[in-house]
Point group: C2
Chain length 540, copies 2
């Protein structure tokens, strides 16, 4: 049996566009004499469609699309992910489904059993749980068709009560197929391979795994589809972070591919660049603008933007205040020249003075404080958004995860932007990214990399005045936010109790800021945004 | 059996504070010789605790609290809502539980079966589904203990496969108790009563319903606990929007209370005032600041704020530009005087000119556009936030749901604020609120109520230049957003196709703005925020 793995990049809700991609892949597979073509989870509408699933006309459009795709399936079988209506009168209205298309019609529909509802996943909000376990015969091969989480009954935090693959295995399948929409994050590829290998080995079955590729605002899907033989060995690998339609013949012998060690920083760079590029591409945006402070965060973002959408399309705005260091403008200017970006210098002092003047009566006799610091950050945001509104450049946000965590950023100031590039990247990782960006040549000037981090909003301000050193800070944050570990256990790892408690208090007290933050490119297993829902009014 | 209904206002995650409230209510009930005291759902931690449930030390703290509350239960039975660990090795780690406390210990634990996972509810994210159905004997009365959704197996959009009350009814209960955390929205009280009456009538059983009261940022819980007799008639009612510990003796005869017609605008006013007051109270905030434009939205917010936290605590900032109408300052000033609020006038022209100056090279030869309109809105936000930062006043947002829907508002401008007061109130309802606020005296000047709505960001601008009249707009928005109806069906109701399509396009295209909006006091069955999750990058 010759199988096509259709790893495609869909646009959420672009049912017509997605259908055309699917149809063209089917046509190509027919020309290659494939017996079967497998698409990813919810391919027809893209994953995740969120609350569009609540709208009857959205479901109708998906149904019309899958029926018209079925009509193209003659001489080939296609398995296509699509939301399908629950034929029963009770239970959720929909099933997350794999439609088996043959002879011009939908010949079978397999429903998803395990509905991920944690972190960024919310499938119990929409779908009913499957309770029918059977194989589907495809070209004489008894096939266990599963959808993404169906293979993940053993989880980090809990095991599901059901094990769908075990339930279907009583029917003696000869092949496992999995339609997936599994987003990228640090360590995910290894974790995913572990799960797939274990399932293939447990049932001594070959496994064809087709994952979605493409970025959907915050979520980045890496593709990386694979085929394992019946011994759990990798015998086929699709591209990562790119569309890829590839072919695999089950009847042939294939050499085993050894999984090499991943360079996590290279992978992070690739994920971010892909996430930015796909966001701009799908939104129809060409050009970006950002505030370039001469600091490392904006420098790394500027380099990533240049890599993602082209140096010509990135415009930097340098907005010194009276508190900016001498080097900050020259460093930022040098950076733009190195990266080949256009730039504008707009000192913010006149705007700052105007606000000061307007507030002079009200603030009479009161000392310089956070208010004045924030006026500077917010004046910069007004400039950046004006440039965005007037010239159609899209403002990207440059805050990193460390400062987002502790609220060390100005709401409606440096927290502005349509997309946060580094909001899931800790400061220590930003340095590693800078080093990676400079792997061949010094694109980011050394002076930017080596200066002490500072917001430069008051005289001689340094991040380390009010925060622990970033290696300690990031260790605490990673354990508390990503690993969700109790503070006591962090302290037991040898970090000072007062420091831990202070950092956690800062994290808890800045939920209200993050609530209004831009969407963040997700690259860790716990990013701020849809995957982390915290109460604002609370006492913890 | 004498039952205490403990309708209390908890703070999320304030486990110590909540425990003290619970203990003091138990003590009071003992003094009143009550046999049983019933608390609301997840009383120990408050509802909803969101992802705090993921933290082991949070669950440990809840466990310690419920054990120490149990120790106080001598001579009385208490039923207290609390998250409890799943003793099994598979399935979610937690159950949403009702703990039965007697003789100083936890004598029984009932788990919740139906886990709402739609709109603002997300319980499948945390909890395992109950599959044990039994009664609990309390002072010789066989009692069916249920938790909130357990009584709601028949839903608007789908029916659950399970019906927990039916499953427990085989054990012949004599009484139904329901621990609830059911948030307020327009029409909810009627809907809730319908469900309770139906269940009581179906099983011919008295029903004691104890709901949480209190606001938790966006979610407003109204309390309104009740007791129904075995004929589904109301025989006891607790207060709405207030704490209330009340007593009811099952053995006594009680007159039937007729449910009166509700005045929805009065109720809306009450809900908003309660929501504001509780937000400020729980956050420890005293004073509020808002931009007062002379328009109806900010006027209604100013009146609501005065009602909620006191006239002395509300500061209005009047920030005219060259496009402001003559009346806008005088109307706003008159409003502040009427309401007894302090106010400051800060013209924004000098800030606007400073930005114009800074951008003059970059914008040379380009016409006045949205960019300049937004500079005005954003300059106002800089002033308001500076006042907030310097003086500790909390900025409240004044955007209404109609403009939030169509994106007729400036991100980082008039969309700023820590809490949106009217973000779930359509413009037509804002007028009705103004009328209600003026029911006894003209607190909001007639000129404000009768002027044509305008953003006043360019010469002679009117909302009706670019939007349909508000009664038509709001009809479309209500059907599309709250009822989730297909556009074709809206058109079939007699509204012009082009208008419907334009409005829906505006709604879909402004998801990115709403993503960064403040939390919104929820008063409709579908508010923007956590209850409506929409893709940003999409094509629909």
């Amino acid at each position: 049996m010759k199988i096509a793995l259709a790893q495609l990049n869909y646009t959420i809700a672009d049912i017509q566009g997605n259908s055309n991609k699917i149809l063209s892949a089917i046509q190509g597979a027919k020309e290659q004499s494939a017996d079967l073509i497998v698409f990813s989870e919810l391919a027809v509408c893209g994953y995740p469609p969120d609350d569009l699933l609540d709208y009857p006309h959205f479901i109708d459009a998906c149904k019309t699309a899958i029926e018209s795709i079925a009509k193209a399936c003659h001489g080939i079988t296609a398995i296509v992910g699509c939301p399908m209506e629950n034929p029963e009168e009770t239970g959720r209205r929909l099933y997350n489904s794999a439609c088996v298309l043959e002879d011009g019609k939908i010949v079978d529909v397999i429903y998803k059993t395990l509905l991920p509802t944690y972190d960024v996943f919310n499938e119990s909000r929409y779908f009913e749980v499957n309770d029918i376990f059977k194989t589907v015969e495809i070209k004489g091969v008894k096939t266990a068709i599963t959808i993404c989480e169906d293979l993940w009954h053993e989880m980090d935090r809990f095991d599901y009560q059901d094990n769908p693959l075990k339930l279907v295995s009583v029917h003696s399948p000869q092949l496992i197929i999995n339609l997936s929409a599994s987003p990228f994050n640090h360590g995910k590829k290894e974790e995913r391979m572990e799960v797939l290998v274990k399932q293939s080995k447990t049932y001594h079955l070959p496994l064809v795994y087709v994952n979605q590729v493409g970025a959907h605002t915050d979520l980045i899907f890496d593709g990386s589809s694979v085929v394992l033989n019946g011994q759990g060995e990798i015998v086929h690998q699709s591209a990562s972070f790119a569309e890829d339609i590839s072919y695999f013949d089950l009847a042939e012998q294939h050499p085993v591919i050894k999984a090499g060690d991943l360079d996590h920083i290279a992978e992070l760079h690739q994920a971010l660049v892909f996430g930015i590029r796909d966001y701009f591409g799908k939104m129809g945006f060409k050009k970006a603008v950002l505030g370039s402070s001469g600091g490392i965060d904006s420098a790394v973002v500027q380099a990533l933007m240049s890599d993602a959408i082209g140096s010509d399309n990135v415009h930097a705005v340098l907005m010194p205040s009276q508190y900016s260091s001498e080097g900050s403008v020259s460093d930022a200017r040098f950076l733009s020249e190195q990266l080949g970006n256009t730039y504008t210098i707009i000192p913010i002092e006149s705007a700052f003075r105007a606000f000061e003047g307007g507030l002079s009566d009200l603030f009479k006799g009161l000392p310089f404080s956070l208010a004045e610091e924030n006026i500077q950050a917010r004046s910069r945001a007004v400039y950046l958004m004006a440039i965005s509104n007037k010239l159609g450049y899209i403002l990207v946000n440059t805050s990193n995860k460390s400062e987002m965590s502790v609220g060390y950023s100005t709401l409606y100031g440096d927290m502005c932007g349509s997309l946060s590039i580094l909001g899931d990247v800790f400061k220590t990782e930003v340095y590693a990214l800078a080093k990676y960006i400079n792997r061949d040549e010094n694109r980011i000037p050394d002076t930017i990399i080596h200066k002490a981090p500072s917001a430069e909003l008051r005289p001689d301000q340094k991040d380390s005045d009010s925060l622990p050193e970033y290696d300690i800070l990031d260790t605490i944050l990673k354990l508390y936010i990503e690993e969700q570990i109790d503070p006591e256990l962090i302290i037991q790892q040898g970090i000072d109790r007062d420091v831990v408690n202070k950092v956690i208090r800062l994290v808890n007290n800045s939920e209200y800021k993050r609530f209004q933050a831009p969407p963040i490119l997700r690259v860790s297993k716990k990013a701020f945004g849809r995957g982390r829902v915290m109460p604002l009014v609370s006492k913890w």
